[in-house]
Symmetry: C2
């Protein structure tokens, strides 16, 4: 069932367009906005006047000099128009950041997760307190925060309005509903996303900004204790569509052994750190996986693999194979697209590559279209943060345009 359209929707769409252009370029003049959006000059006047009246954009202090005619006046988003809180939950630490509406970082602190006291209710309290602390440190009130963007590894409720964590390596299948946690007191929109989804979002935004590269789709794979996948595709209306399929716990092969999710044969059970560890030490594959593998331990296995140790090399090869087969299956179901590999596991990419290429090359589609481009991207943390901002600010912009 399609939905009806109206002139107000037109204005919303075009306002959003102006905001998006302004966000990309930081500040633009009247004529530049017109050129970037394709809107007529008169329309730009109307929209900027409205946004200025609403306090969302302002004429920039510093005006550009030099041209011949009437000097251009630059519009820019008002930084103090609202604030965004970004929360990154990882297995050992939780990072809280505050940015303004322009996306510049104002404050940040981390709290290490105590490994003993698991349990969601304890964490919920810590979480809410940390947000309050963030406000106090910057002397802000709750209603100035327009969005709280949270990320974790794991499975997230796809329903757009919910912010429920369905399964995560940190909390297991104890569900956690962040929207409910902040429900009455906070007006902010609460969003929860898979970490690797945000990486894909950031990479896609970057690709879109690049000169006419003609971005269509891409996938981000994060290697570490667990395996994450984010897929970004350009939708029919030019918008970037991002999903976080359940790649790490997709079935690879029963031989991969017991996964910490409780199933047998997940990709993660072969390619996650604990899977590699288990294979390298020839632990029976139905052993309950290690809760946590120090990176030093992994480095040791990698070193011995590089020195020619047979089982260590085999473990990485099997991990690569699981990833390669998974990628092959993923591409069968979507389409050919470039793959970006991130996460702590990239430091072993030399050891994984052989198995990975072998695993990828076993399908009709890849024979027809050639193997996908696979590249390693290093700064996962920055990408996750960029993805947070990209999403949160985008949502805020579209809410402003809708109002």
């Amino acid at each position: 069932m399609l939905t009806k359209s109206s002139t107000e929707l037109v204005r919303q769409q075009n306002s959003a367009l102006v905001l998006a252009a302004l966000r990309r370029a930081r500040n633009l003049s009247h004529t530049e906005i017109s050129a970037a959006t394709g809107l007529a000059s008169a329309t730009v006047s109307a929209i900027t006047a409205e946004l200025e009246r609403a306090g969302v954009i302002a004429k920039a202090e510093q005006q550009v000099q030099g041209g011949r005619g009437r000097p251009r006046v630059l519009f820019t988003p008002r930084r103090d128009c609202g604030y965004v809180i970004v929360v990154r939950i990882s297995s050992d630490v939780v990072q809280y950041s505050l940015t303004d509406y322009g996306g510049t970082l104002l404050d940040r602190f981390e709290e290490s997760r105590n490994h003993d006291q698991r349990g969601t209710s304890a964490f919920a309290q810590i979480f809410v307190d940390a947000l309050e602390r963030l406000l106090q440190r910057s002397r802000l009130t709750r209603d100035r925060v327009l969005a709280v963007s949270i990320s974790s590894k794991g499975l997230v409720d796809v329903d757009n309005d919910a912010a429920r964590l369905l399964w995560s390596p940190v909390f297991g299948s104890e569900q956690l509903d962040f929207a409910a946690l902040l429900a009455p007191e906070w007006r902010a929109k609460v969003m929860l996303n898979n970490e690797t989804l945000l990486v894909a979002q950031a990479l896609a935004a970057e690709a879109e900004r690049a000169p006419e590269a003609g971005f269509r789709s891409l996938a981000a794979i994060s290697l570490g204790h667990s395996i994450g996948l984010g897929v970004a595709r350009k939708g029919r209306f030019g918008e970037i569509d991002v999903t976080a399929p359940n790649f790490g716990h997709m079935l690879h092969a029963p031989s991969a052994g017991l996964c910490r999710c409780g199933a047998y044969g997940c990709i993660e059970a072969a390619a996650g750190f604990y899977g590699i560890l288990r294979a390298a030490f020839e632990v029976p594959p139905d052993t309950i996986p290690a809760k946590f593998v120090p990176i030093a331990e992994m480095d040791k296995i990698a070193a011995s693999a590089r020195q020619g140790h047979r089982m260590a090399g085999y473990a990485f090869r099997q991990a690569g194979l699981a990833l390669g087969n998974g990628i092959s299956r993923m591409l069968s179901l979507y389409e050919r697209m470039p793959i970006y590999v991130t996460g702590p596991g990239t430091r072993y990419f030399d050891l994984l590559q052989g198995g990975l290429m072998e695993g990828v090359s076993q399908s009709l589609q890849l024979r027809l279209q050639g193997p996908p481009e696979i590249s390693v991207v290093l700064d996962e943390q920055r990408l996750v943060f960029d993805g947070h901002l990209e999403r949160a600010l985008g949502v805020i912009d579209s809410e402003i345009a809708t109002a």
Copy 2:
């Protein structure tokens, strides 16, 4: 990059809305259109007047009688406004159908595909000739045909404007570009879709029509000599989005043996008719697959499986397992959705079911959300045809609205 909006686009969208409503209900009065679309009465007047002037809709002859006040005048799409040609290519026969703009069948004939003379150029000639014949029999000119909708099993170019068959069981990897074939002489829009995609389209349209069932997504799987998958999902703007992932040639397990696509371990190599045959007769799995398996042959294997013959039962079980694992992987990458099984292979569903359920139940997601609903749908041929019409008429409608 989003795209700008304008008042003309609003009219396009709303015209399309009116056409869609009219197509669903055959004929509707002014007030009914208003209720169905949510548009104001005055707007409906403007749009219907325009469409009537363009010759796309007309006031129906037969008016409904009985009420008290002014009698309602029913609008209905004009059948003679244009025509659609539907071509279904299957391995043994090609079916050509002609329908009017209302979707009623006017003419149909079949031509059996000669199994010896493969080769696309010969087929191209036959194809073009058949289309001409269809026109002559109904005394139509080429320019009265607004769409030619073609279906085949296999891989289709995803690019929306192209109509290129990339790989098919019928022509192998000899590509065939139908749009180019009809390029200068025909004004009709040429579309080519995977057969199972059309099944999914038809099922989704049906689900959408049904009372508030809240359709979100579904998958159709076709079992036969080859294995097809169509996935239909409701997009962000209420439109139905359909894709035909390359499911049959997704990697299952190396043990599945040689597939006729040339790769090893495809789902089809285990679950396609020739795969089942091969396993039942204990032919080595790297044997080059049979080009064609008569259904009688399959029936014999099924009969002996039902009588307890070990290898025959095993073959079907392995086929079910391959399908189940594939479904599990597919659902990992998309989301939980109901599965509809069609095609000639459904007559062996009792034999496949055990393996299928076992194969499906091996994943985290399915343990969290429960197994998907799987149901058998019998009349695949009708669904394919319905899907053709659904798509072709939809495209025509949106082109009319755009004009």
